[in-house]
Amino acid sequence: MEDELQPVDDGEFVYRRIHRQHFQPGIPSCVLVTAFRPTDDDKSGLSVFRQRFVQPVDTLLSVKEEKRKDHYVARLAVADLRKLGLSVVPDPDPLGPHGHSLIPELTTQAYHADKRRWKDLQEELAKLASADIVHRPDSLVS
């Protein structure tokens, strides 16, 4: 098995889970900025998963089972994140899906300290995510 602690390369892609409440079909940026709002749990950064370690649907394994059907998954290029001044660092979770990583700049503390900057940037993240939806909730409906 590849080492999940290996540094994240600029050529990699990462997945971000998107709840259906943060997705609006039929508009230019279908992923809404709220999909990138850090929560109280995001003290060390915003969670993403490295594509090289998981399939998109695997990222939902740490979501409560009854809620998994409510999630999309978007793919983001690490190079695009870097252009926005963001990084991705490995943060393996032995109890969760493989490839767990963090965007360490985007913590709840950082967000509340400079909301205007982060709101602007989250809108850019939402546009990037909207362009590459790799899993839809319907995919889990039998």
Binding site: H19, Q21, P28, L32, T34, R37, T39, K67, D70, K119
Partner: protein, 160 residues
């Protein structure tokens, strides 16, 4: 459906609704922000049908209904620890959207969404890249962000 668009019953301040609504929209419209002007096709005013209702009334009602549904969201509604919005925050978002609708200066929003931290977001987007979000972060207080292509992002709050 009623043929008359009723004035919203509650307000975001102590002033009469029409004056307050006008003030809100005055601050909301980008043409009033730092002398910038909206290009043709951006945030077009709704046409009215013969009942005096905006032609896109169904879109408004859909967004208002979706906002009302946020009252049902409990903590951990996303399975990842999100906070459910308080009833007061949801009611404030509904009030604000009803005020904006009543004034008839803006189209129905493109989306509404609950944030994982308990706020409620109202969003307008257009194909040309125009983006505006109004985030009700607590009762009767919202943060606004407006991005117009090629221009500096604007931020302000309601009330100012």
């Amino acid at each position: 459906m009623s043929g008359v668009l009723e004035r919203p019953a509650r307000s975001w301040g102590s002033r009469p609704i029409p004056g307050r609504a006008h003030e809100l929209l005055h601050s909301f419209l980008p043409s009033e922000a730092n002398g910038r002007h909206v290009r043709a096709g951006t945030l077009q005013k709704n046409a009215l049908n013969n009942e005096g209702l905006p032609a896109s009334d169904a879109a408004w009602l859909a967004m208002l209904e979706k906002l009302k549904s946020f009252r049902e969201l409990e903590d951990d509604w996303d399975g990842q620890g999100a906070h459910g919005p308080s009833e007061d925050v949801v009611n404030s978002a509904i009030d604000l959207l009803e005020i904006i609708r009543y004034e008839g200066e803006l189209p129905a929003p493109s989306a509404v969404a609950p944030s994982p931290d308990g706020s409620v977001l109202i969003v307008w987007q257009e194909q040309d890249g125009m983006y505006c979000e109004v985030e009700v972060v607590r009762p009767s207080f919202a943060e606004v962000m407006l991005k117009l292509p090629g221009q500096e992002t604007l931020h302000w709050t309601i009330p100012n």
